[in-house]
């Protein structure tokens, strides 16, 4: 990965509360439905948790499961994958392919022991700003209850740790490094 792209959503926690755990959630959304739906949620001034960093892709069919693994590697505590409802795909069948791929991915992550509540999959259309808010709030609540994903962070090579975000969010990185030390 180019370091220019912060896939972990780490910056979202920069303004987080100093005392409590603020989940970092990375959302992979499709350009045509969920991104527009999230935009609608914003322009409608809906209140929702601010822990989600959105990465916009052309289609859910473009989302390789490796993106999710990479998000966990870079310190995400949870992920959201969201796109067009079945029959609504801008490219006709991208979401159908994604549905099968994520069913398999979901199964293997469960086998390996990743809590399925860390991964939220949803269909949110361009008109469903309120549904996006609900998806985000529920994902944040779930991940907050589960706590930081220290188990994945503990896999990091001993000298590297979580990729340190530049600038003001460095504090968040050192906070998570502290959490890692506790875990190990």
């Amino acid at each position: 990965m180019s370091d220019a792209i912060d896939i972990s959503g780490a910056a979202a926690t920069a303004g987080g509360e100093a005392d409590g755990f603020e989940p970092r959630i990375t959302a992979f959304v499709c350009n045509w439905c969920t991104y527009t739906g999230a935009d609608l949620a914003g322009t409608s001034r809906l209140h929702m948790a601010s822990n989600v960093r959105i990465i916009r892709l052309p289609c859910t069919g473009r989302i390789d499961p490796l993106f999710i693994i990479k998000a966990f590697e870079r310190g995400a505590d949870g992920v959201i994958v969201s796109g067009c409802h079945p029959a609504d795909c801008h490219y006709a069948s991208g979401n159908y392919h994604a549905r099968r791929r994520f069913a398999v991915f979901h199964g293997i992550m469960e086998l390996i022991g990743v809590d399925p509540r860390r991964m939220t999959f949803s269909w949110v259309s361009a008109s469903e700003g309120a549904k996006w808010r609900d998806v985000v709030d529920e994902a944040v609540t779930n991940v907050r209850a589960l706590g930081p994903f220290d188990a994945y962070r503990a896999l990091a090579p001993k000298d590297a740790g979580v990729a340190a975000p530049a600038g003001p969010s460095a504090a968040a990185a050192s906070a998570s490094a502290g959490a890692k030390a506790e875990a190990s």
Binding site: K70, R100, R101, V104, I108, I112, V114, F121
Partner: protein, 293 residues
């Protein structure tokens, strides 16, 4: 066995094929053999030690094999499924190869034995239990006599997967991080896999570097999940990845879990029928989506 040797001799003599890939007896047990001279065909064997999935040599990118000429390949039922996989993905043309099928009653877990041993629950390869393709249909020639069903291993792969599934998440995580933690990233699993045929593996991509290359737990996790996912709905369960793994990661358990998922969700069973579309890359409008909000 004479039947096999005679057929191989005929095929080589009349130049139907230029090389027969089968098994031979060697000092350390059965091993793959490349026979190009009709006089050498009496080296060919088939017994319970012939565990190797020789289909891996059909990978079009193995040019040292391709340059030997037209291939005649000896296949068991499970191997024929791998050939069907390559045909399905247009990696092979059926007319370019001659398939010699052997009726199979199961193989041993271990190829390196001085003599063939009768199968017992202790020594049988677990994947052979419940095999549905002991007489491959895809072949040009089918040899040997009807074989009895292989014995039930002490613990079947399905039972091992179920035992793992029954454990709490934390214990599964601990199990797999320990297993994947052993990985030395030799990529033997990939090299031996008959269906890992990408021109360039994502593990070798450096711009961007998706999968960390050094052998540490984080990169190993990423590699092992990716390897399994890329074989979802394609893996034929030949078990070669696990047999070749120098550190003994139980890769069959991951592979079987994926087979179970595509079986339960999409009604897909791996077969040696190349017309049977693979589940990933295909879809139905009414696929189950209970995990999606």
């Amino acid at each position: 066995m004479n039947e096999l040797r005679e057929l191989a001799c005929t095929l080589l003599t009349d130049s139907t094929v230029h090389v027969i890939i089968g098994w031979e007896d060697a000092r350390r047990g059965a091993r793959p053999a490349f026979i190009t001279d009709p006089a050498d065909t009496d080296r060919l064997i088939f017994d319970t030690r012939c565990v190797h999935d020789l289909v891996t040599y059909l990978d079009p990118r193995r040019d040292n094999v391709a340059e030997l000429g037209r291939i005649g390949l000896v296949v068991k039922g499970c191997d024929a499924k791998a050939v069907a996989g390559l045909l399905r993905e247009a990696q092979l043309t059926r007319d370019d190869i001659v398939l010699i099928g052997v009726r199979c009653g199961g193989v041993l877990e271990e190829a390196e034995l001085p003599q063939a041993a009768p199968l017992t629950p202790e020594n049988v390869a677990p994947r052979c239990y419940g095999c549905d393709n002991r007489e491959p249909a895809l072949v040009d020639h089918l040899l040997g006599e009807a074989q009895p069903e292989p014995p039930r291993p002490i613990m079947t792969i399905d039972e091992r997967v179920a035992a793992l599934d029954a454990q709490p998440l934390e214990e599964r995580w601990a199990f797999w991080t320990e297993q994947f933690g052993k990985c030395v990233r030799c990529y033997a699993c990939r090299q031996v896999c008959p269906l890992c045929v990408c021109e360039r593996c994502v593990a070798e991509k450096t711009r961007p570097r998706w999968i960390e290359a050094s052998a540490h737990p984080r990169g190993n996790m990423s590699w092992n999940i990716t390897r399994a996912l890329h074989l979802a709905g394609r893996c034929v369960g030949c078990g070669e990845c696990e047999r070749f793994c120098p550190v003994g990661i139980p890769l069959s358990l991951v592979n079987r879990k994926l087979q179970q998922i595509v079986g339960e969700r999409y009604g897909y069973t791996v077969s040696d029928d190349p017309e049977n579309a693979a589940p990933i890359g295909d879809y139905r409008l009414d696929d189950k989506q209970e995990f999606i909000k």
